[in-house]
């Protein structure tokens, strides 16, 4: 099932890596952030001049940012130490302040779906939603034990969440994509330009 998940996710250009532990995942993420040029390297276009109102938003960002809204205090502490050493700012809340751009959004996925390579994220927290939407890279940590064969296997969990009356659930498969111009595939039209899935042994 893990093999099927990996191949389905890679099919839609997700980068899938087996990392072992959470600590390994954090190291991976920080390395990724260090290697990445802010708003520059991933695709052409950032140097292109825009209208004044869009340019203003783009200029608001001046430091590398990792957003990890839902980590518990211990995990966040670990990640923060790694970030601090490398000159990266870790933010955990009030992400509306950073909507002009986040380098990496870090999430813990609730489920993986093998059939389609999909991540399932309970996204009731607005900060979590923003972390996965406005970032350039979305890095999702997924314990292997949370991989299921298809959506029907998690239907009961999803339905139970919906039955609570307030719920925002996201299925995420690959990066944000479009083929609206001449049917040519382009990644990162609104959301992440890259999706990295880090499989842990838990």
């Amino acid at each position: 099932m893990i093999t099927q998940f990996r191949s389905a996710a890679e099919n839609v250009s997700a980068v899938v890596t087996e990392v072992g532990t959470m600590a390994d995942a954090f190291t991976y993420i920080v390395d990724l952030c260090v290697d990445k040029d802010a708003c520059q390297i991933l695709a052409p276009g950032c140097e292109t001049p825009l209208s004044d109102r869009a340019d203003k938003v783009c200029r608001e960002k001046d430091q590398k940012l990792i957003a990890a809204p839902l980590l518990d205090a211990d995990a966040a502490g670990q990640l923060n130490d790694l970030c601090g050493n490398r000159g990266i700012c870790l933010v955990r809340e009030d992400l509306r302040r950073y909507v002009s751009g986040i380098d990496i959004g870090v999430t813990l996925a609730d489920f993986g779906v093998a059939e389609t390579g999909t991540l399932v994220l309970a996204s009731g927290s607005e900060d979590l939603r923003l972390a996965t939407m406005v970032c350039e890279i979305h890095a999702a940590i997924l314990p292997k034990s949370r991989i299921r064969a298809d959506l029907f296997e998690i239907e009961q969990d999803l339905a139970a969440d919906m039955a609570t009356g307030t719920d925002y659930c996201a299925f995420i498969t690959g990066a944000s994509r479009t083929a609206d111009i001449e049917r040519v595939l382009a990644l990162g039209v609104h959301g992440p330009l890259e999706l990295h899935i880090l499989l842990t042994e838990a």
């Binding site: 276009g45 406005v134 609206d180």
Partner: protein, 719 residues
Amino acid sequence: MQTAKNMKHYRKHVAEALDNEFQCRAMDNFAVAYRASRARAFEGMDVDGMIADIAEIKDDALGRLDELYDQFKAAAEKSGVQVHRAATAEAANALVLEIAEKNNAKKVIKSKSMTSEEIMLNHYLEAGGLEVTETDLGEWIIQLRGEGPSHMVMPAIHLSRFQVADLFTDVTGKKQDAEIERLVKAARRELRARFIEADMGITGANFAIAQTGTIGLTTNEGNARLATTLPRIHVAIAGIEKLLPTLNDALRIIRVLPRNATGQAITSYVTWITGSVAQNAGDREKKQRHVIFLDAGRRQLARDPDCAQVLRCVRCGACANVCPVYRMVGGHQFGHIYIGAVGLILTYFFHGREKARHLVQNCINCGACKQVCAAGIDLPRIIKSVHQRIQDEEGHPMQSLLLGKILKNRTLFHGLLKTARQAQKPITGGTPYLRHLPMIISGDHNFRQLPAIAPKAFRDLWPGLDTAPEHPVLRVSLFSGCVQDFVYPEQLEAAVRVLNRRGAALDFPMDQSCCGLPVKMMGEADAARDVAAQNTLAMAQGSPDYVVTLCASCASHIKHDYPRLLADDPVLAEKAGELAGKIVPFSVLVNDILEPLPEKASTQQPVTTTYHAPCHLCRGLGVRKAPRDLIQKAGLPFVPAAEEETCCGFGGTYSSKFPAVSARILDKKLDDAAATGAAQLVTECPGCILQLRGGARQRGMALEVVHISEMLDAREPRR
């Protein structure tokens, strides 16, 4: 959008579309690529079963929309969402504007919603003083151009990167290069600013789950997630037919929808929103959520026994992707706002007959849409039904009334054909073609050479034919259809010999007439019914074991439409059911039912052969194997043509109504045949032969186009 005032005007728009080189090339590439990616996406899955499942889910929901609405409303309002029902497009627009005004919202961002396109919400809100920005890339592009979508999933498929670069240069005030990656990034950054500034986000809903008051949204770009998160107000607007009982129903649709739409196993994002989700908006007010269900004729349509199933549509756009006419003319000439086969129908129900009148006549009835529809909607039948209704409402055109009257009276019809045979003499020059077409039908119609009416009709040749085999094994009645009876009797004569050799004792009931498909195509239901009754009675004579036709269109029409056309008369309906059970295409009778002839080498030199699958044979009757088997058993080297199952562009009366489209479809077909290098093209429908043979001759191709009966007869030693 449809602005054509009359048929002439509409044909002019169609001609302009045919001249749009970029669009034609884009559509062509897309049509071919789509088929392959869809097939890959469904590999190893029970597609038909999944589609039948969706039909069942949707039919159940459509039968209790009011109940589901009440359930949704109760569940959603319990957690702070305001649920509204709008009776009309105007009411829905007014409601959205009112929500904006009440909350002092000035800037609106939208994610893709066909329902908002339907009600032209943007125009309404802009007139009300709001700034509205579409954020789906394709929708933004067409918004900037002031156009409607040309495809339901890829709204800007008709535009090139250069056109988009010009638009983006205008909107940013800075020069933008025509490089797709860069244009996409420019849109990302430009639209990000709009998201941040917006007070209100408007989305559609692919699913509305009654049990929990949840809406489901599928996108690839992720713009719906931003639109439902950043602004302080979220308004979702959906047709009331999007209501489903449970999450399970939606998940089953999701397994098909993206695969059928774009060949993706699932869209990049599927978002489920229940209740009024908290937002950390600092000093802003609490998030407001509204769901508006649009009726605008849907509840009435759901009770329409003939057409209700059109509301099963999940908006995957596949019916456009496979349509040979859409491929040639593009979306702006193949729908008003909703595009594709389903668009022709929805235009009538949502935008009225003014907009639909010409569009519904542009269906070639090839059945490609029906075969690919995610919800199993019988699109070609409903398109004809809408055509019929429009004629009933507005009065039938003289031409179609006349044809109806003539076909209802077999003696009159056949008498006229015989008169025409005399009248055509000056223009055939003694050949089997109409060589010098009168001015009135030349011009656009000159893309193929039309055959002449044969010197002697099959029905007149019949008494002199040897039709009794030495050792009869089956009694088979022959249904000739009018093209073969009067134009190509030699195809029937060949069939008689082939069937006789295999022990079929043949009968030809003289009371049979045209099958009635041409009048159905012209929207003449009464005449279609009368002819069906006449043929049903005629073909019951002698109680044959099988009724064979050499015309796939006749066979498919008799099998599928007669029982429906005659359903109101129990006696006729029963007979039509029996006939439907007995009717069999020639290739199936020869290949699958009758015993093969003892092997004997043919004296004829084998020629390289390719095959064209008639629409009504491969899709109408599901026959794909028998003709290929027969070609192989006949010992002919076979080279399959690309797009073997794509329509040849004939479509009966279609090719005289839209000759320019018909000619363009034919051109592709002949290119594909030429690419095989075959000397002979075999098919199993006289209409296809008329089109393909006439076109090959007009082009001066060395390709022989023959009926499968002629091919077999030539390969078999005479008795």
